[in-house]
């Protein structure tokens, strides 16, 4: 790859720490939501089909989903916190719409933060199912 010089006016006064940034970070939290969703669904389905039977109680599956939810929420919160750190890097505020490495860094952080918020709420939505439903009926 060819190193090229960018004009002075495009160089950020406060360049972010040199790390290889990727797009993957913004997908972390939604992915955690998806894994939590799938595992909850699979656990309940297999339990009802193979263990408890159609009339049976959800029993321990509710606790398992509860624990899984805590783990998922912790993961989402950590990702969100990481996003928050990127977002509040330097002293600029949103919208991060300048052509600088700093704003790109903050934008990726802010997107991560917002998606973590959405994933947090969506994960709680799913977890509420085992709060209200106790049987396989």
């Amino acid at each position: 790859m060819n190193e090229q010089k960018r004009p002075i006016d495009q160089q950020a006064p406060e360049a972010p720490p040199e790390e290889r940034e990727t797009l993957w970070l913004i997908t972390f939290s939604p992915t955690i939501w998806a894994v939590h969703f799938l595992l909850s669904y699979m656990a309940a389905s297999v339990w009802c089909a193979k263990v408890a039977g159609r009339g049976g109680a959800l029993g321990d599956v509710r606790i398992a989903v509860g624990v899984l939810t805590l783990v998922a929420l912790a993961g989402i919160a950590l990702t969100g916190w990481r996003g928050w750190r990127h977002h509040s890097f330097g002293n600029a505020t949103a919208p991060h719409d300048f052509d600088t490495p700093g704003d790109r860094h903050r934008f990726l952080g802010f997107s991560t933060l917002l998606l973590s918020g959405l994933s947090f709420v969506a994960t709680i939505f799913v977890a509420l199912c085992v709060v209200f439903i106790r049987s396989c009926a």
Binding site: M1, N2, Q4, Q10, E21, T22, L23, I26, T27, P30, T31, W33, A34, F37, S40, Y41, A44, S45, V46, C48, A49, K50, R54, L58, A94, P95, H96, D97, D99, P101, D103, R104, R106, F107, L108, F110, S111, L114, L115, L118, S119, V121, A122, F125, V126, L128, C129, V130, F132, I133, S135, C136, A137
Partner: protein, 842 residues
């Protein structure tokens, strides 16, 4: 070029004129009958859009037939059979031949312009996708004229479509549409790589147009949504053609598996259709408001968030199938959650419109209408996401009303807004403001008159898909009103069609940037040039035309990147994913008929198979393979005449890149992600049957054993390792090592394939007997198909190096093949673990 002060002096002008001439020659559109060999995005995108609209009009006519039939009770305009064909095709065509393709078409047409690229990275792939689309589409649509169209509804539920309906209809649906799904995946690959890798220098990830964010998300969704349907189609067709009982409960199958696979596709599909249309809204609203979008990051949140959550909704189409309440609840919860990101973006649009200086225009009128209609559809969506309400409304006209409010508000109106907005970009002429307003009001009023009453018809109990109803059940007046509304809606569409088709010879060209937009695509000259952009600018803003003074002049004067085509080749810039720094000058291929032939032969494979003419299908498939190999051999991974070139402004970049730096590697990787999700769906099928049966694998059925599958896995792993070794030897220019390793890999692949087949074969697994052997066989077949492709790739690499088309440095082929083999290893490993390992664990 007559603008004063465009050039510094006469020399500058002479230089620029010579450059422009060379550029025009390189990008010249073929003329005469060779026009159809064009592969450039501006031609293919235009054809694609036009054909998708033709299918839309066709499906619209079918809709009018439905409304005519239902206008009065006990009508006999259409027979029950014809009516079934009409509504099935209406739904299938609107979804598969208009809803999804129109987004691909629009994106192929305008995305390169938005990104300041000359073309997408794989123009021939777009062309191949287009030809597949038109062949498959005409085949599916044409069936109704012979009375053999599919009749099972757009979701083709078995056992209705396997046991109770005769004829070819279901096969036409399965094979014709599978063929089109392939072209959707091709477009998805193209668009993902396009958004990530062909951006102009400076367009960092926080500056890309919102349109590209949506396209990125939607293309990613296609990779996970379409493959399950392809897997489902495979199972379905194996049942119809060879009596493998996947959905036949008498032999252990289960029709619900089809419903799962269909809706794992079908629900994300709704968002695959909806999000690109919202992307158009996100493009039009800032222009009409004369200000940047409010809440850019929030819209990114909405796009990405919707993309994920939309995969947790599929069972809400299956609320009445008798699954446990807890399962329904999970999907109901996710269905409610998806309303959050959907709402966020609508508030962002409203805020932008309120915060700016609003300029009234036809596109904005359609956007306003779209939001009004879509919000109503969204609200009924929240209602039907609640399982108890859905139990009542399921399969009634309430659902018909809901889905049309969502799709027409969320997709059709924004697409027409986009049509008015982008028409000058594609055709260099504007559409009529006056006709646009007439079309809008006819469509808006007609739509509401047609579909609002259906909420009530549905709540009164009228079921979907009945070809007639008895009088005095309370449906008469409501149905008549709906039919009158549909005629008004159709009149609006007719006005629109006239506006698009009316001769515009005498009308002057549109002025440049007719809407005073801020985004890059409006740099386009009127009339447009086939090179797209005179030079590729440096971007410093989300709205460069508003924020970068003199940008248009400097671009026109060729003061930025790639202003010339010294070697007479088509070139575009490849940039890094996050910061869009130029990293490669990509030579893109020019016109060819190969893509059309490849599509015709691929079409033959699917179409002949529909009629069970398997010999013809195999011959056609073989010809398709040969054509594609010729295309690859002559048109890809070409070794450039020099390692690098100056692209202007003192920047020099390589002309060739392989491995993770090359666009081809990314395309392979992305395609294989899609491939993995199809494979995952087949594995899901195996475990689905395990959960629904008390004994799966059945105690009395033989399995594939352990010996043959494990041996197969060992041989396949050896072939994989040898392929990696060959890649390494090639990179070190050790020819004997390369030929030796790859030469040895070929027999390993063959022996691995044989062993994999031997397991179920020698243990006497009969796939027609029971669903268990059928499921084992389908996993094995899937693996064998991949091994066949992997084998061809190994032989191809041997030939490439032998012919001097691949060297130690120029090693795109072997690197992509090695990547493919990683996925073969995963496929084989999982297959063996499931078919041989899982029964041992139980």
């Amino acid at each position: 070029m007559s603008e004063p002060n465009l050039y510094r002096d006469a020399d500058d002008e002479a230089r620029a004129t010579a450059q422009a001439k060379r550029l025009a020659a390189a990008w010249k559109t073929p003329t005469g009958w060779r026009y159809w060999s064009a592969v450039n995005n501006s031609e293919v995108g235009l054809w694609y859009t036009g054909v998708a609209f033709l299918f839309f009009l066709f499906a619209g006519v079918l809709a009018m037939l439905i409304r005519a039939q239902l206008a009065v009770p006990d009508n006999d305009l259409l027979s029950a059979d014809t009516y079934n064909q009409v509504f099935t095709l209406h739904g299938s065509v609107m979804m598969f031949l208009f809803g999804v393709p129109i987004f691909e078409a629009f994106s192929i047409l305008i995305l390169p312009q938005m990104l300041g690229a000359r073309d997408l990275p794989f123009p021939r792939l777009s062309a191949y996708g287009f030809w597949c689309f038109i062949i498959g589409g005409v085949f599916v649509c044409g069936s109704i004229f012979f009375g053999v169209a599919p009749q099972g509804g757009w979701f083709m539920y078995p056992p209705l479509s396997t046991t109770y309906q005769e004829g070819l209809g279901a096969d036409i649906w399965l094979l014709g549409l599978s063929f089109i799904e392939v072209s959707s995946i091709a477009a998805a690959v193209e668009l993902i790589v396009g958004v990530l890798k062909t951006r102009p220098p400076g367009m960092r990830i926080n500056l890309i147009p919102l349109y590209s964010w949506y396209i990125l998300v939607v293309a990613g969704m296609i990779l996970f949504a379409f493959p399950p349907l392809i897997a489902g189609d495979l199972l379905f067709e194996l049942e119809r053609a060879f009596d493998w009982p996947f959905f036949d409960h008498t032999r252990g199958g289960d029709p619900l598996l089809w419903q799962h696979l269909f809706w794992i596709f079908g629900h994300p599909e709704v968002y695959i259709i909806f999000l690109p249309a919202v992307a158009l809204v996100a493009t039009i609203v800032p222009t009409a408001s004369g200000r940047p979008i409010v809440g850019y990051t929030f819209i990114v949140l909405a796009a990405v968030g919707t993309g994920f959550i939309s995969f947790g909704l599929w069972v809400h189409h299956m609320f009445t199938t008798g699954m446990p309440d807890i399962s329904l609840a999970f999907f109901s919860a996710a269905s409610e959650a998806v309303a959050i990101p959907t709402g966020v973006q609508i508030f962002c649009f409203l805020a932008t419109a309120l915060a700016g200086r609003f300029v009234k225009s036809v596109p904005m009128l359609f956007v306003a209408g779209a939001l009004a209609i879509f919000v109503l559809g969204g609200l009924t969506g929240v209602m039907v996401a609640l399982a108890p309400f859905d139990f009542q409304a399921h399969d009634t006209y309430f659902i018909v009303a809901h889905l049309h409010y969502v799709l027409i508000g969320g997709m059709l109106f924004p697409v027409i807004a986009g049509l008015y907005y982008f028409f000058p970009l594609a055709m260099s002429k504007t559409l009529s403001e006056r006709l646009g307003r007439i079309a809008f009001w006819l469509m808006f009023i007609g739509f509401n008159v047609a579909f609002m009453p259906m909420h009530f018809t549905g709540l009164l109990g009228m079921p979907r898909r009945v070809y007639t109803y008895a009088p005095d059940m309370g449906f008469d007046v409501l149905n008549m009103v709906s039919t009158v509304g549909s005629v008004i809606l159709a009149a609006g569409v007719a006005v629109l069609v006239w506006d698009v088709l009316r001769p515009k010879g005498k009308q002057p060209y549109s002025k440049r940037n007719p809407w005073n937009a801020g985004s890059l695509e409006w740099l386009a000259e009127m009339p447009g040039e086939s090179w797209g952009m005179r030079s590729i600018p440096i971007i410093k803003s989300r709205y460069p035309l508003w924020d970068q003074p003199g940008l248009m002049r400097d671009v026109d004067a060729g003061r930025f990147y790639l202003p010339d085509a010294e070697e007479g080749k088509r070139e575009t810039l490849i940039s890094s994913i996050i910061d869009a720094e130029p990293i490669q000058c990509l030579r893109v291929p020019g016109p060819t008929f190969l893509t059309m032939w490849a599509a015709i032969f691929t079409g033959g494979l699917f179409i002949f198979a529909t009629y069970s003419w398997y010999v013809a299908a195999l011959v056609s498939g073989g010809l398709a393979l040969v054509t594609i190999l010729i295309w690859l051999w002559t048109g890809t991974a070409i070794i450039p005449e020099k390692p690098q070139k100056g692209i202007g402004l003192g920047v020099t970049v390589p002309l060739y890149a392989s491995g993770a730096k090359s666009v081809g590697w990314w395309a392979t990787f992305i395609t294989m992600i899609g491939d993995m999700s199809a494979f995952g769906s087949l594995v899901f099928g195996y475990f689905f049957f395990w959960t629904v049966h008390d004994d799966f694998p059945p105690a009395d059925s033989p399995g594939p054993g352990v010996f043959w599958p494990v041996l197969a896995l060992g041989l396949i792993a050896a072939s994989w390792a040898l392929t990696l070794l060959a890649r390494r030897c090639n990179a070190r220019n050790q020819a004997p090592g390369f030929y030796g390793a790859l030469g040895l890999a070929v027999p390993c692949t063959l022996a691995g394939a044989y062993s994999l087949w031997a397991g179920p074969h020698f243990n006497g697994l009969d796939p027609t007997l029971n669903v268990y052997p059928a499921t084992v066989w389908v996993l094995v077949l899937w693996c064998l198909l991949h091994l066949a492709i992997g084998l061809i790739m190994q032989l191809y690499c041997l030939a490439r190096r032998g012919a001097g088309r691949m060297t130690a440095v120029h090693d795109i082929d072997i690197r992509n093949v090695a990547l493919f083999w990683h996925f073969i290893l995963i496929t084989a490993g999982v297959t063996v673990a499931v078919i041989a390992g899982f029964p041992e664990v139980l």
